[in-house]
């Protein structure tokens, strides 16, 4: 009896501690389930129609040889987006308003107007992707455009941020459609593992084409609208400083998912379209159809889903930015009567972008190229402002960037600025890199 007492107490102690840990983890998981959303949505929307096209071309042209590079882009995307989470949670301001407040009206107007133009042009590219994808199934462009307007309109008219977010997460799950497609084509696992873990250049070495495609992959990973979108959605969701760690996890999971989706798409194209000249994701889907009907359909459906998710986020990024700066009511938690200008701008943007795609002989290729050039003028400013704000003690308090965060973030931002500038300028002058 004298021995069992302490043993029982010890056992009880272990069970009590395990139960406490379980309760604590379960509670953290519940809080995470509530807070998660902005990071995952923005990162999965990162694989928009333009992104899907870039990955398709990468896989077809260079096989699995650039998987390692894509995996490296995951942490890059995380570090940049994590800053918007902290900035949004601490200042309770969207990125546009934060720029106005910190740097004055000149930089504020420049960023806002540039964002509006970039977003509108990018929206057009999303509609191009969606109509091209649905045309594979014989759906006319006008039906696709009107259908998208209705879906996107219905999503925001629920009057609750929470509902909108959960619907957007459903479309995020749709983006994972490339994972089963990769299993269906039965790729070589050792080849994938080797190309994912060992950095190397594809056969043929470092060429201009390869450089251009690497830049395109970086460009599709960090776009200006994503910074504005994520910070505004963090604010609209009402995230507090105490929620920052959950927001960081949300962003990390989103970064992981975006790399996973891109990797699996590249694997599919590397297996089915090795060395074939492919210009777009829709073209890839058409070429794959005779080889594997279901995989071709998956590529097309994934392209549509990516375009829709991109359009949903981009249109909101602009509406939020306008609302913040003009002082309009600008929350998805407000009904249309309470925030009329916010919703009016959202629909205006949506209808204008969709209509351009329906105009016969509209210069769609020129628009796609123009997006890359215009984004070059906005991305560096948005990134530099982000770094400056995250280093401002007065703005960030104890959430200011640490030395290591600065080393990582400033290095990443410098590389992105240099690469996106070369990308934009080489789009303007295609013979520059010849």
């Amino acid at each position: 009896m004298t021995q069992t007492g302490p043993i029982s107490a010890g056992k009880l102690n272990i069970f009590a501690r395990l139960f406490y840990q379980f309760r604590r983890s379960a509670k953290a998981l519940r809080i995470f389930a509530v807070i998660a959303g902005p990071g995952i949505i923005v990162m999965v929307a990162d694989n928009d129609a333009g992104g899907i096209t870039t990955y398709t071309v990468t896989g077809a042209k260079y096989g699995n040889h650039l998987l390692w590079f894509l995996i490296l882009l995951g942490p890059v995307a995380y570090f940049v987006r994590e800053m918007t989470v902290r900035l949004g949670a601490v200042t309770k301001r969207g990125h546009a308003e934060a720029i106005f407040s910190a740097f004055g009206s000149f930089w504020g107007w420049f960023s806002l107007l540039d964002l509006v133009l970039t977003d509108w042009l990018t929206m057009i590219t999303e509609f191009i992707g969606m109509t091209a994808a649905m045309s594979i199934f014989g759906v006319p462009a006008w039906i696709t455009v009107i259908g998208c307007w209705l879906v996107m309109g219905a999503m925001i008219l629920t009057g609750r941020y929470w509902t909108w977010e959960k619907l957007a997460l459903v479309f995020c799950v749709g983006n994972l459609i490339y994972i089963p497609a990769a299993f269906m084509v039965q790729p070589s696992l050792p080849d994938i593992v080797r190309n994912s873990l060992v950095p190397h250049f594809p056969p043929g070495g470092f060429t201009n084409d390869l450089f251009f495609l690497l830049m395109a992959n970086i460009g599709t990973t960090i776009a200006p609208w994503m910074l504005f979108f994520q910070q505004s959605s963090v604010v609209d969701k009402g995230m507090q400083e105490k929620d920052i760690s959950f927001g960081q996890w949300d962003t990390a999971i989103g970064s992981f998912l975006t790399v996973i989706v891109a990797t699996f798409l590249i694997i599919v194209c590397a297996k089915l379209l090795p060395g074939k000249p492919v210009e777009s994701a829709a073209e890839a889907a058409i070429q794959i159809m005779p080889m594997n009907k279901y995989v071709g359909m998956i590529i097309a459906l994934g392209l549509f889903d990516a375009g829709l998710l991109g359009a949903i986020c981009i249109s909101l990024a602009s509406s939020w930015a306008f609302g913040e700066v003009f002082g309009w009511a600008h929350s998805l938690n407000q009904k249309i009567q309470e925030a009329p200008w916010f919703y009016a701008y959202y629909f205006f943007d949506l209808v204008l972008a969709g209509t351009v795609v329906l105009i016969p002989k509209a210069p769609l290729v020129l628009i796609t190229l123009f997006v890359q050039v215009i984004a070059t003028t906005l991305l560096p400013t948005a990134l530099v402002f982000l770094i400056l704000l995250l280093n401002d003690q007065q703005t960030m308090g104890k959430y200011v960037n640490t030395t290591w965060q600065n080393i990582a973030n400033i290095s990443i931002v410098i590389v992105i600025i240099v690469v996106s500038t070369i990308y934009g300028v080489s789009t303007l002058f295609p013979n520059l890199l010849q």
Partner: protein, 60 residues
């Protein structure tokens, strides 16, 4: 016409209010911040200049 004039007037008033509200930058203007802003201005001048050049060449 009256509606258009009203919208335009409201817009101008709104822009003026915003300009007044954000007239003074709130960030601490350290040397690093000043250098970054100057570099950004030069970068944008260069980029816009390149775009204007390309546009002019394309028109010819």
């Amino acid at each position: 016409m009256n509606v258009l004039a009203f919208v335009f007037k409201s817009l101008v008033t709104g822009v003026r209010t915003i300009n007044r509200k954000y007239a003074t930058p709130q960030i601490e203007m350290t040397l690093f911040v000043k250098v970054c802003l100057l570099t950004l201005r030069l970068y944008l001048f260069l980029l816009v200049g390149l775009m204007a050049y390309k546009f002019t060449v394309s028109l010819k």
